[in-house]
Symmetry: C2
Protein backbone atom coordinates (compact mmCIF):
# COMPACT_ATOMS: atom_id res chain seq x y z
CA UNK A 1 0.00 0.00 0.00
CA UNK A 2 2.80 2.46 0.71
CA UNK A 3 5.33 1.47 -1.95
CA UNK A 4 4.67 4.36 -4.29
CA UNK A 5 4.76 6.87 -1.44
CA UNK A 6 7.96 5.38 -0.02
CA UNK A 7 9.55 5.64 -3.43
CA UNK A 8 8.43 9.24 -3.82
CA UNK A 9 9.96 10.11 -0.45
CA UNK A 10 13.23 8.23 -1.00
CA UNK A 11 13.79 10.08 -4.26
CA UNK A 12 14.01 13.31 -2.32
CA UNK A 13 15.25 12.64 1.23
CA UNK A 14 16.93 9.83 3.12
CA UNK A 15 14.74 8.15 5.72
CA UNK A 16 15.65 4.96 7.58
CA UNK A 17 13.12 2.17 8.06
CA UNK A 18 11.88 3.47 11.42
CA UNK A 19 11.38 6.97 10.13
CA UNK A 20 9.58 5.62 7.10
CA UNK A 21 7.28 3.54 9.29
CA UNK A 22 6.58 6.49 11.53
CA UNK A 23 5.89 8.59 8.50
CA UNK A 24 3.47 6.06 7.05
CA UNK A 25 1.57 5.98 10.33
CA UNK A 26 0.24 9.50 9.73
CA UNK A 27 -1.56 8.52 6.55
CA UNK A 28 -5.00 6.98 6.17
CA UNK A 29 -5.58 4.68 3.20
CA UNK A 30 -8.73 5.23 1.17
CA UNK A 31 -10.16 3.68 -1.93
CA UNK A 32 -12.19 5.71 -4.37
CA UNK A 33 -14.45 4.41 -7.13
CA UNK A 34 -14.45 6.04 -10.53
CA UNK A 35 -16.51 9.26 -10.43
CA UNK A 36 -16.49 9.36 -6.62
CA UNK A 37 -15.70 12.72 -5.06
CA UNK A 38 -12.78 13.32 -2.75
CA UNK A 39 -13.76 16.98 -2.40
CA UNK A 40 -16.86 18.90 -3.39
CA UNK A 41 -17.19 22.62 -3.90
CA UNK A 42 -18.35 24.24 -0.68
CA UNK A 43 -16.69 21.68 1.58
CA UNK A 44 -13.42 22.27 3.38
CA UNK A 45 -10.55 20.28 1.90
CA UNK A 46 -9.56 18.12 4.85
CA UNK A 47 -6.88 16.03 3.11
CA UNK A 48 -3.96 16.21 0.81
CA UNK A 49 -4.10 12.96 -1.08
CA UNK A 50 -1.21 10.92 -2.38
CA UNK A 51 -2.19 8.71 -5.30
CA UNK A 52 -0.90 5.14 -4.92
CA UNK A 53 -2.98 3.89 -7.83
CA UNK A 54 -5.53 5.24 -10.28
CA UNK A 55 -6.25 8.75 -11.49
CA UNK A 56 -7.96 11.85 -10.11
CA UNK A 57 -8.64 15.35 -11.28
CA UNK A 58 -9.34 18.67 -9.62
CA UNK A 59 -11.57 21.10 -11.43
CA UNK A 60 -13.53 24.29 -11.15
CA UNK A 61 -17.10 24.76 -12.33
CA UNK A 62 -17.81 28.27 -13.64
CA UNK A 63 -21.09 30.14 -13.60
CA UNK A 64 -22.03 28.76 -16.99
CA UNK A 65 -21.63 25.26 -15.50
CA UNK A 66 -18.51 24.58 -17.50
CA UNK A 67 -15.81 22.46 -15.92
CA UNK A 68 -12.23 23.64 -16.01
CA UNK A 69 -9.60 21.10 -15.18
CA UNK A 70 -6.96 22.36 -12.81
CA UNK A 71 -4.87 19.27 -12.35
CA UNK A 72 -4.60 15.58 -13.15
CA UNK A 73 -3.13 13.25 -10.53
CA UNK A 74 -1.83 9.80 -11.41
CA UNK A 75 0.26 7.32 -9.37
CA UNK A 76 2.89 9.11 -7.34
CA UNK A 77 1.24 12.53 -7.51
CA UNK A 78 -0.39 14.61 -4.82
CA UNK A 79 -3.72 16.34 -5.11
CA UNK A 80 -5.71 18.75 -2.93
CA UNK A 81 -7.02 22.27 -2.84
CA UNK A 82 -4.09 23.67 -0.89
CA UNK A 83 -5.83 26.93 -0.21
CA UNK A 84 -8.83 25.34 1.45
CA UNK A 85 -6.62 22.75 3.13
CA UNK A 86 -4.45 25.38 4.79
CA UNK A 87 -7.04 28.01 5.60
CA UNK A 88 -9.94 25.64 6.33
CA UNK A 89 -12.17 27.82 4.17
CA UNK A 90 -14.71 26.14 1.87
CA UNK A 91 -13.23 25.08 -1.41
CA UNK A 92 -14.26 26.48 -4.78
CA UNK A 93 -13.04 23.32 -6.47
CA UNK A 94 -13.95 19.68 -6.87
CA UNK A 95 -11.76 16.62 -6.84
CA UNK A 96 -12.96 13.27 -8.13
CA UNK A 97 -11.66 9.98 -9.47
CA UNK A 98 -11.21 9.47 -13.21
CA UNK A 99 -10.40 5.80 -12.50
CA UNK A 100 -10.80 3.59 -9.41
CA UNK A 101 -8.07 4.79 -7.12
CA UNK A 102 -6.11 4.00 -3.97
CA UNK A 103 -5.12 7.00 -1.95
CA UNK A 104 -3.14 7.85 1.15
CA UNK A 105 -4.72 10.76 2.96
CA UNK A 106 -2.99 13.25 5.18
CA UNK A 107 -5.00 15.67 7.31
CA UNK A 108 -3.63 19.06 8.30
CA UNK A 109 -3.07 18.05 11.99
CA UNK A 110 -1.43 14.82 10.81
CA UNK A 111 0.85 16.76 8.49
CA UNK A 112 1.80 19.17 11.23
CA UNK A 113 2.65 16.35 13.61
CA UNK A 114 4.51 14.50 10.89
CA UNK A 115 6.67 17.55 10.24
CA UNK A 116 7.37 17.89 13.95
CA UNK A 117 8.30 14.25 14.43
CA UNK A 118 10.12 13.82 11.11
CA UNK A 119 11.52 17.25 10.26
CA UNK A 120 13.26 15.84 7.20
CA UNK A 121 9.82 15.77 5.63
CA UNK A 122 9.91 19.56 5.47
CA UNK A 123 12.49 19.03 2.80
CA UNK A 124 10.41 16.43 1.01
CA UNK A 125 7.44 18.77 0.80
CA UNK A 126 9.60 21.71 -0.14
CA UNK A 127 11.07 19.84 -3.10
CA UNK A 128 7.65 18.60 -4.10
CA UNK A 129 6.19 22.08 -4.01
CA UNK A 130 9.10 23.40 -6.00
CA UNK A 131 8.34 20.95 -8.78
CA UNK A 132 4.63 21.66 -8.68
CA UNK A 133 5.30 25.35 -8.89
CA UNK A 134 7.54 24.92 -11.91
CA UNK A 135 4.84 22.86 -13.63
CA UNK A 136 2.14 25.40 -12.78
CA UNK A 137 4.29 28.24 -14.00
CA UNK A 138 4.90 26.46 -17.25
CA UNK A 139 1.18 26.10 -17.64
CA UNK A 140 0.63 29.82 -17.09
CA UNK A 141 3.24 30.62 -19.73
CA UNK A 142 1.61 28.12 -22.04
CA UNK A 143 -1.80 29.68 -21.62
CA UNK A 144 -0.40 33.15 -22.24
CA UNK A 145 1.93 32.43 -25.13
CA UNK A 146 0.62 29.62 -27.26
CA UNK A 147 -2.24 28.77 -29.59
CA UNK A 148 -4.59 25.89 -28.85
CA UNK A 149 -2.64 23.65 -31.24
CA UNK A 150 0.71 24.50 -29.69
CA UNK A 151 -0.62 23.89 -26.21
CA UNK A 152 -1.92 20.50 -27.27
CA UNK A 153 1.37 19.52 -28.89
CA UNK A 154 3.30 20.58 -25.81
CA UNK A 155 1.04 18.59 -23.54
CA UNK A 156 1.46 15.50 -25.69
CA UNK A 157 5.23 15.93 -25.62
CA UNK A 158 5.23 16.27 -21.84
CA UNK A 159 2.77 13.41 -21.19
CA UNK A 160 2.70 11.16 -24.27
CA UNK A 161 0.53 8.53 -22.59
CA UNK A 162 -2.11 10.82 -21.23
CA UNK A 163 -4.54 10.20 -24.07
CA UNK A 164 -4.60 6.53 -23.15
CA UNK A 165 -5.68 7.38 -19.64
CA UNK A 166 -8.15 10.23 -19.89
CA UNK A 167 -10.95 11.21 -22.25
CA UNK A 168 -10.35 13.90 -24.81
CA UNK A 169 -12.86 16.19 -23.20
CA UNK A 170 -10.76 16.12 -20.03
CA UNK A 171 -7.70 17.08 -22.01
CA UNK A 172 -9.64 19.85 -23.74
CA UNK A 173 -10.79 21.14 -20.37
CA UNK A 174 -7.20 21.09 -19.09
CA UNK A 175 -6.03 23.05 -22.12
CA UNK A 176 -8.83 25.56 -21.83
CA UNK A 177 -10.40 24.73 -25.18
CA UNK A 178 -13.65 23.00 -26.20
CA UNK A 179 -13.79 19.31 -27.13
CA UNK A 180 -14.84 20.38 -30.63
CA UNK A 181 -11.73 22.46 -31.09
CA UNK A 182 -9.54 19.65 -29.79
CA UNK A 183 -11.16 17.22 -32.17
CA UNK A 184 -10.43 19.55 -35.11
CA UNK A 185 -6.84 20.07 -33.99
CA UNK A 186 -6.26 16.32 -33.81
CA UNK A 187 -7.77 15.84 -37.25
CA UNK A 188 -5.54 18.54 -38.63
CA UNK A 189 -2.42 17.09 -37.02
CA UNK A 190 -3.27 13.54 -38.12
CA UNK A 191 -3.74 14.52 -41.77
CA UNK A 192 -1.49 17.04 -43.50
CA UNK A 193 0.69 17.33 -40.39
Amino acid sequence: MYEVLAKSIREKVFLNEDEMQLCASFFTPKKLRKKQYLLQEGDVCRYTAFVEKGALRSYHVDKKDQEHLIQFAFEGWWIADSYSFLTEEPSAYNIDALEDAELLLLTLPAQEELLLKVPKMERYFRILLQKSLIAMQRRVVSSLSYTAEEKYIKLMEAYPNISQRVAQQQIASYLGITPETLSRIRKQLASGK
Copy 2:
Protein backbone atom coordinates in the same frame (compact mmCIF):
# COMPACT_ATOMS: atom_id res chain seq x y z
CA MET B 1 19.15 46.25 4.05
CA TYR B 2 17.75 43.01 5.48
CA GLU B 3 14.68 44.29 7.30
CA VAL B 4 12.14 43.15 4.76
CA LEU B 5 13.74 39.73 4.50
CA ALA B 6 13.94 39.34 8.27
CA LYS B 7 10.27 40.22 8.52
CA SER B 8 9.36 37.73 5.80
CA ILE B 9 11.25 34.99 7.64
CA ARG B 10 9.89 35.83 11.10
CA GLU B 11 6.35 35.62 9.80
CA LYS B 12 6.92 31.95 9.05
CA VAL B 13 9.55 30.50 11.41
CA PHE B 14 11.22 31.47 14.65
CA LEU B 15 14.91 32.34 14.31
CA ASN B 16 17.02 33.87 17.07
CA GLU B 17 19.39 36.75 16.36
CA ASP B 18 22.39 34.51 15.67
CA GLU B 19 20.48 32.32 13.28
CA MET B 20 19.12 35.38 11.52
CA GLN B 21 22.63 36.81 11.18
CA LEU B 22 23.95 33.52 9.85
CA CYS B 23 21.09 33.36 7.47
CA ALA B 24 21.71 36.88 6.17
CA SER B 25 25.36 36.01 5.55
CA PHE B 26 24.38 33.77 2.64
CA PHE B 27 22.80 36.59 0.67
CA THR B 28 24.48 39.10 -1.63
CA PRO B 29 22.94 42.57 -1.88
CA LYS B 30 22.47 43.98 -5.34
CA LYS B 31 20.96 47.15 -6.72
CA LEU B 32 19.21 47.19 -10.05
CA ARG B 33 18.29 50.24 -12.12
CA LYS B 34 14.93 50.41 -13.84
CA LYS B 35 14.98 48.33 -17.03
CA GLN B 36 18.14 46.49 -15.98
CA TYR B 37 18.11 42.73 -16.43
CA LEU B 38 18.54 40.27 -13.61
CA LEU B 39 18.18 37.35 -16.01
CA GLN B 40 18.17 37.15 -19.78
CA GLU B 41 16.77 34.37 -21.91
CA GLY B 42 19.51 31.89 -22.74
CA ASP B 43 21.44 32.49 -19.52
CA VAL B 44 21.30 30.19 -16.54
CA CYS B 45 19.37 31.64 -13.63
CA ARG B 46 22.06 31.78 -10.95
CA TYR B 47 20.03 33.50 -8.24
CA THR B 48 16.73 33.55 -6.52
CA ALA B 49 16.18 37.17 -5.67
CA PHE B 50 14.40 38.59 -2.68
CA VAL B 51 13.06 42.09 -3.29
CA GLU B 52 13.86 44.48 -0.46
CA LYS B 53 12.71 47.51 -2.45
CA GLY B 54 11.38 48.27 -5.90
CA ALA B 55 9.64 46.13 -8.47
CA LEU B 56 10.65 43.43 -10.94
CA ARG B 57 8.91 41.25 -13.47
CA SER B 58 9.62 37.92 -15.11
CA TYR B 59 8.36 37.41 -18.63
CA HIS B 60 8.54 35.20 -21.67
CA VAL B 61 9.00 36.45 -25.22
CA ASP B 62 7.18 34.34 -27.81
CA LYS B 63 8.11 33.75 -31.42
CA LYS B 64 6.09 36.77 -32.54
CA ASP B 65 8.24 38.88 -30.16
CA GLN B 66 5.36 39.40 -27.79
CA GLU B 67 6.09 39.62 -24.09
CA HIS B 68 4.03 37.58 -21.64
CA LEU B 69 4.33 38.54 -18.03
CA ILE B 70 4.76 35.59 -15.72
CA GLN B 71 5.14 37.34 -12.42
CA PHE B 72 5.46 40.68 -10.71
CA ALA B 73 7.71 40.98 -7.66
CA PHE B 74 7.42 43.85 -5.22
CA GLU B 75 8.94 44.37 -1.75
CA GLY B 76 8.93 41.13 0.21
CA TRP B 77 8.49 38.86 -2.80
CA TRP B 78 10.88 36.39 -4.37
CA ILE B 79 11.61 36.09 -8.05
CA ALA B 80 13.60 33.68 -10.21
CA ASP B 81 13.20 31.11 -12.93
CA SER B 82 13.10 28.14 -10.57
CA TYR B 83 13.48 25.63 -13.33
CA SER B 84 16.69 27.11 -14.64
CA PHE B 85 17.90 27.82 -11.12
CA LEU B 86 17.54 24.20 -10.03
CA THR B 87 18.58 22.42 -13.21
CA GLU B 88 21.21 24.95 -14.33
CA GLU B 89 19.73 24.81 -17.82
CA PRO B 90 19.46 28.03 -19.84
CA SER B 91 16.34 29.98 -19.02
CA ALA B 92 13.55 30.68 -21.48
CA TYR B 93 12.52 33.73 -19.48
CA ASN B 94 13.70 37.22 -18.68
CA ILE B 95 13.67 39.10 -15.42
CA ASP B 96 14.14 42.84 -15.24
CA ALA B 97 13.40 45.80 -13.02
CA LEU B 98 10.21 47.82 -13.46
CA GLU B 99 11.54 50.28 -10.89
CA ASP B 100 14.98 50.84 -9.34
CA ALA B 101 15.32 47.96 -6.93
CA GLU B 102 17.32 46.59 -4.04
CA LEU B 103 17.70 42.84 -4.03
CA LEU B 104 19.15 40.12 -1.87
CA LEU B 105 20.50 37.34 -4.03
CA LEU B 106 20.85 33.71 -3.09
CA THR B 107 22.83 31.32 -5.29
CA LEU B 108 22.03 27.62 -5.42
CA PRO B 109 25.17 26.59 -3.46
CA ALA B 110 24.43 29.32 -0.92
CA GLN B 111 20.87 28.09 -0.55
CA GLU B 112 22.03 24.52 -0.08
CA GLU B 113 24.49 25.53 2.60
CA LEU B 114 21.93 27.76 4.25
CA LEU B 115 19.49 24.87 4.47
CA LEU B 116 22.19 22.65 5.97
CA LYS B 117 23.28 25.19 8.56
CA VAL B 118 19.80 26.53 9.34
CA PRO B 119 17.44 23.63 8.71
CA LYS B 120 14.50 25.71 9.96
CA MET B 121 14.75 27.52 6.66
CA GLU B 122 13.44 24.39 4.92
CA ARG B 123 10.19 25.28 6.57
CA TYR B 124 10.39 28.91 5.52
CA PHE B 125 10.85 27.95 1.89
CA ARG B 126 8.18 25.29 2.08
CA ILE B 127 5.60 27.76 3.35
CA LEU B 128 6.69 30.29 0.77
CA LEU B 129 6.34 27.78 -2.05
CA GLN B 130 2.96 26.73 -0.78
CA LYS B 131 1.71 30.28 -1.06
CA SER B 132 3.25 30.77 -4.49
CA LEU B 133 1.64 27.57 -5.69
CA ILE B 134 -1.77 28.65 -4.46
CA ALA B 135 -1.39 31.97 -6.27
CA MET B 136 -0.22 30.28 -9.47
CA GLN B 137 -3.08 27.83 -9.32
CA ARG B 138 -5.53 30.64 -8.90
CA ARG B 139 -4.07 32.22 -11.98
CA VAL B 140 -4.50 29.04 -14.00
CA VAL B 141 -8.13 28.81 -12.93
CA SER B 142 -8.59 32.45 -13.81
CA SER B 143 -7.16 31.98 -17.28
CA LEU B 144 -9.37 28.94 -17.87
CA SER B 145 -12.63 30.18 -16.39
CA TYR B 146 -12.99 33.91 -16.80
CA THR B 147 -13.39 36.57 -19.45
CA ALA B 148 -10.85 39.35 -19.90
CA GLU B 149 -13.05 41.71 -17.92
CA GLU B 150 -13.52 39.26 -15.04
CA LYS B 151 -9.80 38.57 -14.89
CA TYR B 152 -9.10 42.28 -14.71
CA ILE B 153 -11.65 42.83 -11.95
CA LYS B 154 -10.23 39.93 -9.95
CA LEU B 155 -6.71 41.24 -10.29
CA MET B 156 -7.78 44.69 -9.12
CA GLU B 157 -9.54 43.14 -6.13
CA ALA B 158 -6.47 41.11 -5.20
CA TYR B 159 -3.96 43.94 -5.78
CA PRO B 160 -5.83 47.25 -5.66
CA ASN B 161 -2.67 49.34 -5.79
CA ILE B 162 -1.02 47.62 -8.68
CA SER B 163 -2.13 50.17 -11.25
CA GLN B 164 -0.25 52.85 -9.33
CA ARG B 165 2.95 50.85 -9.64
CA VAL B 166 2.99 49.33 -13.10
CA ALA B 167 1.97 50.44 -16.57
CA GLN B 168 -1.26 49.19 -18.05
CA GLN B 169 0.53 47.31 -20.76
CA GLN B 170 2.27 45.26 -18.07
CA ILE B 171 -1.06 44.43 -16.50
CA ALA B 172 -2.47 43.53 -19.90
CA SER B 173 0.48 41.24 -20.52
CA TYR B 174 -0.03 39.61 -17.13
CA LEU B 175 -3.71 39.03 -17.89
CA GLY B 176 -2.96 37.64 -21.34
CA ILE B 177 -4.79 40.37 -23.22
CA THR B 178 -3.68 43.29 -25.40
CA PRO B 179 -3.28 46.83 -24.08
CA GLU B 180 -6.07 47.89 -26.45
CA THR B 181 -8.48 45.41 -24.94
CA LEU B 182 -7.54 46.48 -21.43
CA SER B 183 -8.09 50.10 -22.32
CA ARG B 184 -11.56 49.28 -23.63
CA ILE B 185 -12.40 47.26 -20.54
CA ARG B 186 -11.38 50.10 -18.27
CA LYS B 187 -13.44 52.55 -20.27
CA GLN B 188 -16.44 50.24 -20.04
CA LEU B 189 -16.04 49.77 -16.30
CA ALA B 190 -15.50 53.49 -15.67
CA SER B 191 -18.65 54.49 -17.54
CA GLY B 192 -21.93 52.61 -17.26
CA LYS B 193 -20.34 50.02 -14.96
